[in-house]
Subunit: 760 residues, 2 copies
């Protein structure tokens, strides 16, 4: 729950625009009137509510007090970053300095809460706000230090720092000091972006995460794609030649509507996860040809008119409006995932790039969702595909969208860096084979939890002897010792280099016992070959036996990670056979979508100048649904979606729109092509699926949802779908229907376009 | 043939280091002695030989005269770029100014021919070279203008400008003015790189192309990856944890050898095209962790020792040496594509990134080669996969490596921009459906070759009537007219929007006849649906019939482009059925490698501290070949490769190396695992396959071969392979063998590592 300011209601304060000069308890000079020393002022409030409010993304401004509250909350995050490693005295100094450093005020392009506070119209007004903010910053610094160092003047209270870091960085940082990210964040807060585009985008991403709690607007109101290759030149040549021809024939500015959709669910399934929208919005938001790009086009069409070149230079997305399903939605064939409305030439120039951005993203997200369904909610799925992915960005996209679709982590360090996806990994076979004998172990010791130094290798040998495991591979034991003394708190061993059950698992257990003796808990094993069902079950048995022998409970719960060329169907097979695997690490099959490496999204013109257009095909399935359409999802009694219904919502005001389905009312749903397939539905609930995400050049939802949010939405969406639609084999098709009005429009246009021909 | 300087042999000239002060015919002041006015001086020579020499890539310096010749040749290219749009008077002024502008001399880091001219050791020597170069530049400017404006003082001779542009930009620019590229090149020559990394890399790529004629060295001697995501963090987490453990156990600096290879050819074939090496070399050359990256790692292993962090900060590839097969080679299982030698931890940190860079690149290149074999040498293959590729870089990689493997062009404009791959495209169905009636055609006219204005649409209608094609779709005819008047010299129409044979082809022919009447030649049609064999044959018949009726020869030769979900096997089917297709445009199946979306390259430790290492597996095929090995290709009488032979070339000087096979001598070749499979070969010729590409931090071949060169090499390689190895169905496996010495080493290590176990 978001907490609002108590200063929202009282209108008695002086204001500059909508910025109120609230009373303060302070000795610092400034415009604030004196507050009652016995009551809470806005700074008390901001500090009290900080930990609660910072956890929330959306903060609706309910009054002017909230404006100051939000400013102070954001300022607290900056202060906490600054003092994370300071003692009290240093913190006081730092915050005193910071309060008075040059900072932005409403009207500056870099002001972080642009739009939230009225831009002052006079210089005096600007100065007034600046003085008030300075006073607030100074007083806040003093009181924050009091609270954060209340128990220990030597270091800040962990909880304050931690909650700040957690929220800023999406909850993954176990280490509150994370200097890189802190540094970057500070840089960003101070300096804006760097000039390295990939890095800039990474910064931007961080910035987005960091400022996501408040309605943040980039200074120019535009977002940029994360990937440096995503430019207007990332398109097919024919889009350029068509644009030229459209311009040449004065057709470029005709208002059109295009649908982006697919015709068939991938992987022989009956559902798809929609992904890629964020990058689409970023691309569209930033859409323009820079001088170099324009000149490159000129070099491709050397004879083209200068007028076309001039036209290209002015092109932006200012006349474009986009409706889309929410990213992470579970979607079905023929429902427009994205509906693009705008000038013909611009829409056409979007086609290839949008398809590129949606096709692979949705394919991987769907693949991940299917794999996660196979793995099951109670087990962990990791994406380990970097080495086999389609090049560097194929890998980055795969990591990002696998996570969106349900993966719980990745092995890809750069994906962690960019997207804050949890990252996992232990060691490879080569690490084990790089050890040959005991003499390779320069140092055998480890300091135990008790602070004493132990010979870890000798301890392991002792248990090896006790257990009678004399034939385990000694060089493997040496390698495990080397690894365990590096990561005593996170020891997870790859056990199949020589012989899983005769060497790897026993050697692992020797080290686990040795670590246990000196106060550490081993974590588990990874199996990378062989019969994973059998080996996991046998390993679990050995864990139990040894745990019981030495009376150690947690041995029974050692993690078993499996990672050998897994895919959806082998996981289903394993589930049927039974296994003891806790974590499935899936590589090639997940990231390359081996089972079906392409999703066939298309981009089709459906309305031009107010008139519906149809694209025919000898294959009925490829005929387009003409006209501007909006989708509704109709839910049944049990809360599951029953049917998606497309209805006509024409641009042309003179065409009467379809009636919007209502909960409790009967609605006739027709199959688009088979007239006998029809059904009357009385929905328990109705949801409109299309949301306006971009309105004549403006991003509607800013900040865009974070990857974490989209992932959570995706998982909740999958939960809502009836299980038989999700089933791996022979799933039930989900119904996608159209209204009677759309059906009639489709079929009359169809007949019109195909005149009866005579046969000779 | 490269032409060398006549001033190489005469040693009588004064020199500064190896830079000779050659006699000149000039009135410009400077250190040059007066030349005989009746003989050629070095400037005459440079201008005479320019057009010949600039076509060559490799120029071996045979004497000091060549050093000046190369400098002048490079300077001519700069001059020509400068004056490309000038008249004679302006050109004189421009070149006079340019000659004296600040320029670099040997010793400056930006001097373009670093290494070729001795760096002068004294200030006087530097000044001497600078004065001489100034004199040369001034005189060259004067004489170049005389030649370039010999026929027309108003504009430069096309041929001079054109050959320059052609060579600089890889031969694709039909338009000599190409201002973007010229601008970029000038910027590069003047300013070095920009600071936009993707763009920087694009510039760098251009720069490489531009300077490829001479032994160019980047100022710091390091190359950088083209893709901004290719950083040391693009790796699996376990490489980082392993590196830490290796460091912690003082194993990080042990000298190791790793092999990167695959075990099975993709696509059920018996050959593979090796690609991705350039990006690997760039990555390795630039390998280092910057401060942000180090801090990111610290955040991942929060408890790690500061010493490890310090170690990471110093890491480079300075102790790494790499041997590799040539990029574009036809390769076979188990032959190391890349052999990496260096400190254990560094090699390990390369693993994932190298696999990522080689796997997809080689897979796509192989896929393209297979598709091109199906298409045939006499027909054209285009890559049209951008919209279905695996994200933006999946697409960029796919375009790049498809071209390398044999595609003749792409639809991807950005790939043209970055890699100078020829780009193709016409229009889409939506272009056709965007026209509804004649009233949509605002302007029906086109200026004919005779300069008169014609009503193109009426002309088309006239022919439509003459041919009796009254039922063709009129809105399609309108759309074709719009397109034809935009591209009268390049009219190629998509003919299947409504009905290929009853509407599309007839409408196309109406426009082709109309264009013909006013002096233009149409180009052809694209078929995107239906039975491509039948439709292409019927279309060809119609071309012939109409061509004969109107007595127009070239109608018979209209291009037929096919583009409907093509893949290797459908192309083979089409070939069997017969067809009239000239150009195959292949999308999804080419770029996603639908038939097998991953290549399984692995990266295995084969030698450590001078000792061979083996990695065992229950699958014999997965057992590694231990030891440092070099591959030789043995050729038979007919010039085809017979067998690839791996032999031992241990790091350890005390181990005796294998005998290198010689042409004409018998050599015993053994199957690595099946002792009865052995053969004695007497090769007609022997080639060593492994080339040192990186030597202790230094790139060996700089500049790296261009994409164009690698592609040419790949195509020539494929020509050499016996056809039965290349066959699409049931190809003959190519033999990969090992020497007796390697066989013995492998099998004795194997037995050592697997002790005989007792069964209970």
């Amino acid at each position: 729950m978001v907490y609002h300011s108590n200063f929202n209601t009282d209108a008695g304060y002086r204001s500059i625009g909508n910025y109120p000069i609230l009373p303060l308890k302070t000795t610092h000079k400034g415009p604030a009137p004196k507050a009652d020393p016995n009551s809470q002022d806005i700074i008390d409030e901001a500090l009290e509510l900080f930990k609660a409010n910072i956890l929330f993304r959306n903060f609706e401004v309910q009054g002017n007090g909230d404006r100051v509250l939000i400013y102070l909350t954001l300022y607290i995050t900056k202060c906490l970053l600054k003092i994370a490693t300071c003692n009290k005295a240093d913190a006081e100094k730092q915050l005193f300095t910071m309060a008075q450093e040059q900072f932005t005020v409403p009207g500056d392009s870099a002001f972080p809460l642009g739009g939230m506070i009225t831009i002052p119209s006079t210089r005096d007004a600007t100065d007034g706000i600046r003085q008030s903010l300075t006073q607030l910053r100074l007083e806040l610094g003093v009181r924050l230090v009091q609270r954060v160092y209340a128990t220990d003047p030597a270091r800040p209270n962990k909880w304050w720092i931690r909650i700040n870091i957690l929220v800023l960085f999406g909850g993954y940082m176990s280490n509150p000091s994370t200097p890189l990210k802190r540094k970057k964040t500070e840089e960003i807060i101070k300096n804006g972006n760097g000039d390295h585009p990939v890095a800039t985008n990474a910064y931007r991403e961080l910035k987005r995460v960091n400022t996501v709690n408040y309605a943040y607007q980039e200074s120019n109101g535009h977002l940029k794609p994360l990937n440096g290759f995503v430019t207007p030149l990332l398109t097919d040549m024919y889009q350029i030649t068509m644009a030229y021809s459209l311009w040449k024939n004065q057709r470029h500015n005709i208002h059109t509507v295009f649908d982006l959709y697919f015709r068939k669910n991938p992987f022989r399934g009956e559902f798809t996860v929609f992904a890629g929208l964020e990058e689409v919005i970023r691309f569209v938001s930033d859409f323009h040809f820079n001088d170099d790009e324009v000149e490159h086009i000129r070099s491709l069409i050397p004879d083209c008119d200068q007028g076309f070149i001039d036209y290209l230079k002015t092109l932006t997305s200012k006349d474009v409006t986009i409706y889309a399903l929410k990213e992470g939605s579970v979607v079905f064939p023929r429902i427009p995932l994205i509906r693009i409305e705008g000038p013909l030439a611009v829409c056409q120039l979007f086609e290839t790039t949008l398809l590129n951005l949606v096709n692979f993203a949705s394919l991987v997200a769907t693949n991940a969702a299917r794999h996660k369904l196979a793995v099951g909610k109670d087990r962990v799925m990791l994406e380990f595909g970097l080495r086999r992915a389609q090049g560097p960005d194929g890998a980055m996209s795969a990591s990002r969208y696998s996570y969106l679709g349900g993966a719980d982590g990745t092995s890809n360090v750069l994906a962690h860096c960019f997207f804050s996806i949890p990252v996992k990994g232990t060691h490879a076979h080569s690490f084990v084979t790089s050890y040959n004998s005991v003499s390779d172990l320069v140092d055998k010791t480890l300091v135990g939890k008790d602070g004493k130094t132990y010979n870890l290798f000798d301890l392991a040998l002792k248990y090896r002897k006790e257990m009678g495991w004399t034939i385990t591979n000694e060089s493997e034991l040496v390698a495990f010792t080397a690894y365990a003394r590096t990561f005593p708190n996170g020891f997870l061993a790859l056990v199949d280099t020589y012989d899983t059950l005769n060497s790897g698992v026993p050697n692992y257990l020797c080290l686990a016992l040795a670590l246990n003796e000196i106060g550490y808990k081993a974590v588990g094993i990874r199996l990378d070959s062989g019969d994973l069902s059998y080996l996991s079950k046998e390993s679990r048995k050995m864990f139990k036996t040894v745990g019981e022998k030495y009376n150690i409970d947690y041995f029974n719960k050692f993690q078993i990670v499996a990672s050998n060329d897994l895919n959806e169907s082998t996981i289903h097979d394993l589930n049927r056979q039974g296994h003891e695997i806790d974590v499935f690490a899936i590589g090639t099959n997940l990231v390359t979508c081996q089972a079906q490496p392409a999703l066939g999204c298309v981009f089709k013109l459906v309305e031009i100048d107010g008139h519906p257009r149809i694209k025919l095909s000898q294959e009925t399935n490829k005929v387009t649904l003409p006209g501007r359409k909006t989708a509704y999802r109709l839910f049944g009694e049990a809360g599951h979606p029953l049917v998606d219904l497309l209805l006509l919502t024409p641009t042309n005001a003179s065409s009467s729109p379809d009636e919007i389905p209502k909960a409790g009312d009967k609605v006739l749903c027709l199959h688009p092509f088979e007239e006998q397939k029809r059904v009357i539905v009385t929905p328990k609930a109705v949801e409109e699926l299309h949301i306006k995400v971009f309105d004549k050049g403006q991003v509607m939802t800013n900040p865009l949802p974070s990857l974490e949010e989209v992932r959570a939405f995706c998982l909740s969406e999958i939960q809502r779908i009836r299980e038989d639609h999700l089933r791996a084999s022979n799933p039930t098709p989900y119904k996608v229907s159209i209204t009677k009005k759309l059906y009639d429009s489709l079929h009359s246009l169809w007949l019109e376009s195909v005149p009866i021909r005579e046969m000779k």
